[in-house]
Subunit: 149 residues, 2 copies
Amino acid sequence: MSGVEDTDRAIVRSLAEDGRLSYTDLAERVGLSVSAVHQRVRRLEQRGVIKGYAARVDHEALGLPLSAFVAIRPIGAPEPDDAPDKLAGFPEIEACYSVAGDDFYLLLVRVAGPADLERLLQQIRVAANVTTRTTVVLSTPYEGRPPQV
Amino acid sequence: MSGVEDTDRAIVRSLAEDGRLSYTDLAERVGLSVSAVHQRVRRLEQRGVIKGYAARVDHEALGLPLSAFVAIRPIGAPEPDDAPDKLAGFPEIEACYSVAGDDFYLLLVRVAGPADLERLLQQIRVAANVTTRTTVVLSTPYEGRPPQV
DNA sequence: GCTGAAAAATGATTTAC
DNA sequence: GTAAATCATTTTTCAGC
């Protein structure tokens, strides 16, 4: 049981693919009237199933061609852990995942080049009192694909 | 030089935060007329700086509460490498990054639970002839934040 | 919860400056 | 790039089933 019914799933999937679909097009795709789709979308937004809408951007074109995953773990004894809060101020950090395994968090960062990455890593280490292990992204075959229906 | 000028950056950032902003609101934010913003957005879309729009979804609510990073590397001699193509058919795989380091690719996957993860990993190994090393996501402090302006 | 239709708002295009 | 006018669509609301 997932709490989201089939038609709603189809709606969510369509909007995950194209967040600017009109209600007319949506209605056509899922086989409902515009009004019905509209109120379903509103409920999905209210329930938080749809958390918002975002433009998908080309980071290269924006001058941020270098992406990297940064695994972090605390130095010495693990204190009360608020690394995400301490790092939230860095706009280079696109995502922060708390993970199982050797590391505590996995960050996805976007920077202009190696020099910026070096500087960012130093700042992260200081700000959160952690060590870092960085995996550079060479290319991105695909990203942000819509979730399974 | 990034090829994207300051006002355009502001536009892209605003749309990355809220992909459904009206041109009126956008114009207000960046201090331009509606017409000017409108044609800038169109150019940004045409140039591919804005690659599209997507709804941000709550994977838990959709019945996919388990996320994981799956690092893969080929078994034995690295043949002509088309793992991304071979894996593109799995809807559980949200993203595929080609990475530097010990592993060849890093996948982000979303599944319903451990059993599905196990099955997916087996399928990935067979489909792409790779070994996998999986890092389970425990929680997501933040994700998909807008890029730096 | 769905439909259908009217009203309000926004999008898209054009013109002139 | 601004401002204004226009027309097409879309969004939003509402009565009724």
